[in-house]
Point group: C2
Chain length 299, copies 2
């Protein structure tokens, strides 16, 4: 894990470029979500969340381009949760995976600066979970996102703004019709395009991406049109019912222009079906989804 003094900023390639390189090298747009629930761990790991997550990372590292630890599940572990998360993030980076921290943070500027410091700044002490990217909520507008954009510029990290979510209730706010006839989320997508416009890397992808639920295939196509340079993070494939075919239209801006996060169906693959070891089962499911998505992406 890279460790830098705060005064010596990490000058890495922009997130979009790092992602594009990794996707093409691995021929994978798969992101494995890490949503560890202590009550669903294999008996063998005896409640050790870090051991479970690191085992899943070992199994999926050849197939995935990134992992996506869901902060809520680590926060729910209590005081040791953040330590576990930091350990898991460091392990994933050492295994050559990008880390997308799923926190959906969103607050006014002074508070957003604290979140950026917490999750997007490589610290001198390496004692914090450090992500290559963080999911953020755009409801508070531009000044609430600025501190993350500053981190993107300074540290080569990225963000994914929640735009159109995969859950049933998402439409209650996101689909409200504006006076121009478009839904709220279209307008949010336009804001995201604006926020990311000066963070486009050499590979044509911005470090400011968008979360679009794969459970809404029409929305995926519309988002691709509104956000030609954004990386679309497309939850909903697998447990929530969407298929690789549903997300295929998202890849027209390049092989790395969309990512498919899969959580439960990989993490808990061992619970469905034959008596395979949990790591083997996770690896096999990751390999399967990766291939299906790559094929569907047309690259």
């Amino acid at each position: 894990m890279t460790s830098h003094a705060e005064t010596a900023p990490l000058v890495e390639l922009p997130f979009g470029d790092r992602l594009a390189e990794a996707v093409e090298r691995k021929r994978s747009q798969l992101v494995v979500g890490l949503d560890p629930r202590p009550d669903l761990l294999p008996v063998e790991v005896r409640g050790d969340v870090a051991r479970f997550c690191c085992g899943v990372i070992d199994a999926v590292a050849p197939h995935a381009v990134a992992v996506k630890p869901q902060l809520a599940f680590f926060e729910a572990l209590g005081l040791e949760g953040l330590t576990v998360c930091q350990e898991v993030c460091a392990y994933a980076r050492a295994a050559g995976l990008l880390v997308i921290l799923d926190g959906k943070r969103g607050d006014i500027g002074s508070t957003a600066r604290a979140y950026a410091a917490a999750y997007l700044e490589p610290g001198a002490d390496a004692s914090r979970p450090f992500g290559d990217a963080l999911t953020v909520n755009p409801y508070l507008g531009r000044d609430s996102v600025d501190p993350y954009l500053a981190a993107c510029r300074r540290h080569g990290v990225g963000i994914f703004c929640v735009v159109k979510t995969s859950n049933a209730g998402g439409g209650e706010v996101q689909d409200l019709a504006l006076t121009d006839g478009r839904p709220v989320w279209h307008h949010v997508a336009l804001l995201v395009a604006e926020w990311g416009a000066d963070l486009v890397g050499r590979r044509g992808l911005s470090s400011v991406g968008a979360v679009i639920g794969a459970t809404h295939p029409t929305a995926v196509r519309e988002a691709r049109r509104i956000l030609p340079q954004a990386v679309l993070l497309l939850p909903g494939v697998g447990a929530q019912g969407a298929t690789p075919a549903d997300v295929a239209p998202a890849f027209t801006s390049g092989p790395a222009s969309a990512l498919v996060p899969v959580s439960r169906s990989v993490m808990h693959a061992y619970r469905a079906g034959d008596a395979a070891d949990w790591r083997t089962a996770a690896g096999a499911e990751a390999a399967r989804v990766k291939s299906e998505v790559w094929a569907a992406s047309g690259w």
Copy 2:
């Protein structure tokens, strides 16, 4: 600090009733925000955030009805941050203050369940920061809020949904005009009213409140009309420029129907002006704001 086994749910009074009782007893609608920045601590505490926060709590406990730890600032402390936050929350509760955790969490149902477990469920081990209430983001709709509503019902806790924020950029999404001519945030306020309708306590206040920026006095009045039974949490007084007079119209639903959070101007009162001890300065500023707000509230 109350400690219960997870299987023995805490059956307390609803949050709205507990708040109403505390506000009337203390004749205070003041909430002291705890946004600790290590670089702004008094020299005397030598970077010890817990000591600083507990000192502020001692000073403001006679004047405030609640504290509002901003999770971002604790998360930015690194691995010990959550421990500090837990310590501060427990200390505040022991001092007779309610704890409103400011996290603005918002995610799909399965993840929201983890956040509710992390922050709104009194754990058997008391090892987590436990809030009487949590701020949440409504952009993902009803099913993303349901787990918090379940916690409200089960544990007598509350939530405050972000509706119309105090920052300049908030309007970029929240003020977008819908086809009926109303801004997005009006519709979100209507959703909040719906979510909280069956959580109204004996004192007429729902456990589901709303965050409305005091920097928008017109919005405060409109929110009061749309949400007659919600407790309005009104940031923006003090450092952000709003005055007690700006929030006066929020109190027409009762003395506890609105709360005024003040962070920097209390925490850092010692930095402005004469050489008072930092605790004395915080206490004096809290007493001053409390009295001004109580007078403006008309109760």
